[in-house]
């Protein structure tokens, strides 16, 4: 699992570096602000001074303050939940795993988690985004019931777009019907 995680991290890092160096791509790398609504202060509005919120992003990717998340002997190093075809419920065998992560989130309220739901390749790409979301929402709901906080967890879907295993057979597909739990710094 450590290997998989590290591979994912270095791939993400590589992708960032390569994208940044991709000169033929006419993309605007500016960070988006499409859904914000900022109005200029009108005349007569009092100027207020608010405390500055400090954001520290100096930590390098791959470095974690929580070694137990990477320790293969810790259940917290396990991050994947697999599903039956067309099923979305977290099977009993994964319950201890979800409980362990819920406990970790409870004990570290500032830590955030991204849950990515995935599907196999059959069917519509967009409907599969919906199916993957149903999977990640299910894991999120269970973590919330076990005491994690809403603002700690974002559940999203990668649909069929990021298969772990290639191939048009059940062996590959069963690897791809999956939810992955990632902590801050891992995505």
């Amino acid at each position: 699992m450590r290997f998989i995680l590290n591979t994912a991290l270095s791939a993400a890092f590589l992708a960032t570096v390569l994208l940044a160096g991709c000169s033929t791509t006419p993309t605007d790398e500016q960070s988006p602000a499409g859904v914000e609504d900022r109005k200029p202060a009108g005349p007569g509005t009092a100027v207020e001074t608010k405390p500055i919120a400090r954001v520290d992003v100096t930590g390098k990717p791959g470095e974690s303050a929580f070694p137990e998340l990477k320790d293969p002997k810790s259940i917290l190093s396990k991050r994947s939940i697999y599903y039956e075809y067309d099923k979305f419920d977290v099977r009993n065998e994964y319950r201890p795993l979800v409980e362990a992560h819920a406990k970790f989130l409870r004990e570290h309220p500032s830590v955030k988690m991204l849950i990515q739901g995935n599907t196999d390749e059959r069917g519509s790409r967009e409907y599969n985004v919906g199916l993957g979301q149903r999977r990640s929402d299910g894991v999120k709901r269970m973590l919330l019931l076990l005491g994690a906080k809403e603002d700690q967890i974002e559940s999203v879907s990668l649909g069929e777009e990021k298969p772990k295993a290639e191939g048009q057979n059940e062996q590959a597909w069963s690897q791809n019907r999956r939810s992955d739990m990632l902590y801050t710094g891992e995505y």
Binding site: P26, V35, G123, Q133
Partner: protein, 430 residues
């Protein structure tokens, strides 16, 4: 003799194509299978002086018209002197060559370095000229000009607008690299609008053809962008908590219907194209996704599994009680309205597990399966409604296929060493 010649020519041609292939690797190549029954025989004479333009003119016009399945280009022996648009037409001579229609033209260099291309179209049966146009263009615009002439000929002879000047957007995946590309409708002149190491899906053309909305996974989750094609500027249209997906333009180009999970599940919302003014349209415990506006802007068709299996529903564009539209089969997804709003194309899964393109006549409820492939996705109508481009898998590779709305003419568009998917046929542009 002709058969022998063909037998010799085809391997020779194939060998030539193989030699050329590495240079043209980025281009979609086209293969036509099947053809319409009644094809109009047309003679397109090589334009006098067209040798000055690398891709030529007449051969592009002929290939365009033949791809429609409605025309058959005639072989023409070398004519000397080469006729121009001004040359008198001997109708009996062209009739004896079995031509119903004739195109003659010329290419002339201008003192400013540009070119003038002129042509005239003739109805050989009625022995009458049907009109012509003169274009001034740069050397690089030879293909564009040829497509325009093909559009003119197509419209004069069929009464419908041609789509040869329109463009198709699609995604190419090579290894772990994804490119959103835009090519001419014949696959030529592909340009890359976006390159990424994360997936790109669901490109959708704005009605004016200047922008593409799409879903990119570059932020480790699906986010909807609007991308201006001329300057490459991108704007986030939907990046809410959770997944943001399945963009569809309103016919006025002002708004997008999208599927968002920000309030749990996957539900359909409207947002302005700049990402402001989000409003929820559906309210179900199901997956509601793949919205599409009807061409009149009154309705939104979408995929929902609220009835237990994914089916297509329709609701008023402002929201309201949805009505189920598809009933046959347990998996009907990806609704796309024809430009006249009378036909719904979608993907249906049959009992054998094959995913194919179905057409539903919204007036008489008749369903017709128009493909014989088995992993079809993402159908997209040409703006004249005559053809549908779709993604499918052949020989383990993602290819695009175009099929006439009556299912008779099929073309395959593929790239070497890569998967092509997620086609979106662009609108008419001036």
């Amino acid at each position: 003799m002709p058969r022998l010649l063909t037998g010799l020519l085809i391997p020779l041609l194939a060998a030539t194509l193989c030699l050329v292939a590495p240079l043209a690797h980025a281009q979609l190549s086209i293969e036509i299978t099947g053809a319409g029954g009644q094809r109009i025989p047309i003679a397109i004479v090589p334009f006098a002086g067209e040798g000055a333009l690398a891709p030529g003119i007449a051969s592009i016009i002929r290939a365009d018209l033949e791809r429609s399945g409605l025309f058959r280009g005639l072989e023409i022996p070398p004519l000397s002197p080469a006729p121009t648009e001004a040359t008198n037409v001997s109708y009996p001579e062209w009739r004896s060559r079995l031509a119903d229609a004739l195109v003659q033209g010329s290419v002339a260099a201008r003192p400013d370095g540009r070119f003038e291309v002129r042509f005239r179209l003739f109805d050989v049966v009625k022995q009458t000229p049907l009109g012509g146009v003169a274009y001034t263009m740069s050397k690089e615009q030879a293909r564009t000009t040829a497509h325009r002439i093909a559009d003119y000929v197509y419209e004069k002879l069929t009464g419908e607008k041609g789509v040869f000047s329109t463009r198709i957007a699609y995604v190419v995946k090579r290894g772990n690299r994804y490119e959103l590309q835009i090519a001419d409708s014949d696959g030529a002149s592909p340009e890359t609008a976006l390159a990424s190491f994360e997936p790109i899906i669901s490109p959708a053309w704005s009605p004016d053809g200047r922008r593409l909305a799409y879903v990119s996974f570059e932020n480790k989750k699906p986010v909807v962008y609007v991308h201006s094609l001329t300057d490459g500027k991108r704007q986030v249209a939907a990046n809410f908590k959770g997944s943001n997906s399945a963009p569809a333009w309103s016919p006025d180009g002002a708004r997008l219907a999208v599927s968002l999970s920000r309030e749990g599940g996957s539900q359909i919302f409207l947002v302005n194209a700049d990402g402001s003014g989000v409003r929820r349209l559906t309210s179900s415990a199901a997956i509601d996704t793949e919205p599409r506006f009807s061409p009149d802007g009154q309705s939104i068709y979408f995929t929902s599994d609220r009835g237990g299996s994914p089916q297509i529903y329709r609701m008023p564009a402002g929201g309201g009680e949805p009505q189920r539209v598809t009933f046959e089969g347990s998996y009907n997804v990806s609704p796309r309205l024809s430009p006249d709003g009378r036909t719904l194309a979608y993907i249906t899964r049959n009992a054998a597990g094959k995913f194919q393109v179905a057409l539903l006549d919204l007036a008489n409820r008749q369903v017709q399966i128009i493909t014989d492939s088995d992993r079809d996705e993402s159908p997209s109508f040409a703006p004249n409604g005559r053809m549908i481009v779709l993604a499918t898998v052949i020989g383990g590779r993602g290819v695009l296929s175009a099929v006439s709305a009556d299912g008779r003419v099929k073309q395959r568009l593929s790239v070497t060493a890569g998967d092509v998917r997620e086609p979106a046929w662009g609108p008419f542009t001036e």
